[in-house]
């Protein structure tokens, strides 16, 4: 009895809330500009999916960001200016291109430092 009632009730279930799918991407007419925009999209991080670039993401927010990138590129902005547009709003986090900053200096210097340490170790070994 209960099962039948549940089954009957299910008939009246409404659709669940869901974000509507984003509108399809409209590539730029100029193939060169579109290539420029696409390469930029691979360098910008999706905000809702976080570790994907906006080029790879299906999220509505990523689609909006792609549209913005295309608009900026079509308006003649340079890649650096487009990246700066997003960094201004979301900080360096949004860019996959690591900027040269004092707090990432060690990251950049690490290979050279490690090579030096290795060189010292090896030369000590040979001197012995």
């Amino acid at each position: 009895m209960k099962e039948i009632l549940v089954a009957l009730l299910l008939l009246f279930g409404g659709p669940a809330f869901a974000e509507p799918p984003p509108p399809p991407d409209v590539p730029l007419a100029d193939a060169g500009l579109e290539a420029k925009a696409t390469s930029l999209m691979h360098q910008l991080r999706c905000l809702t999916c976080q570790n994907q670039s906006i080029a790879e993401s299906n999220a509505g927010q990523a689609q909006a960001m792609r549209a913005e990138v295309r608009e900026l590129v079509a308006a003649g902005r340079t890649p650096d200016e487009v990246r700066a547009f997003f960094v201004e709003r979301y900080g360096n986090w949004v860019s996959f291109v690591p900027p040269a900053r004092t707090d990432t200096l060690f990251l950049w210097a690490a290979p050279v430092l490690l090579l030096l340490v290795g060189g010292v170790l090896v030369s000590n070994r040979f001197r012995r």
Binding site: Q61, Q63, F86, V94
Partner: protein
């Protein structure tokens, strides 16, 4: 250097390894998703002009620079936490706050149902079909709520739904922005 102390150097890799383990262990259990705060706080909202829904008056950046601080709520009918914060928005409204809404990637029909179910505390609602307004505020999703001062400058960002304990915080931030 004595031979004994010289041998201590072989402990160095082990110590480095233990240090690395401690560093990684300390990060376990932390939320892997970063909370991305808007970098737009202290900056003016970029100019925009959104149409209204259902023929109502829309929302433009001029409505955010009227000399009086306002709240702007980014929301959507498809967003569940946006329904959760509806009673809190109502409370803010009752406290005399000017509250504008920006409907993100929504349709007039869905919005109509949402407002009928959860009430409409908004003075003006702008229809942001493409979801580009999030970039104007530095928002990373919905819902988010912003305190804008009388000159159209973003003063405070509230990420996620407004729970009852957040109402006094927002009221205080509005007062600070005045």
């Amino acid at each position: 250097m004595t031979a004994n102390r010289r041998q201590l150097i072989w402990l160095l890799p082990l110590l480095l390894f233990i240090g690395l383990l401690a560093l990684m262990g300390g990060h376990l259990g932390r939320s892997p998703t970063a909370v991305i705060k808007s970098q737009m706080i202290g900056k003016p909202v970029g100019a925009f002009d959104l149409a209204g829904m259902d023929g109502a008056k829309g929302l433009s950046s001029a409505d955010l620079a009227t000399g009086k601080p306002v709240l702007v709520n980014l929301f959507a009918s498809w967003c569940l936490p946006c329904a959760v914060e509806a009673p809190q928005l109502e409370k803010l409204k009752e406290a005399g706050v000017v509250l504008h809404g920006i409907a993100v990637r929504d349709t007039a029909e869905d919005m109509h149902g949402f407002l009928a179910r959860h009430g409409n505390p908004f003075d003006l609602i702008g229809d942001d079909k493409g979801g580009r307004m999030l970039l104007n505020f530095g928002a990373s999703g919905v819902p988010e709520t912003y305190v804008i001062d009388g000159k159209g400058v973003i003063r405070y960002q509230h990420l996620g739904e407004i729970r009852p304990e957040h109402v006094p915080i927002l009221l205080r931030e509005l007062e600070k922005a005045a």
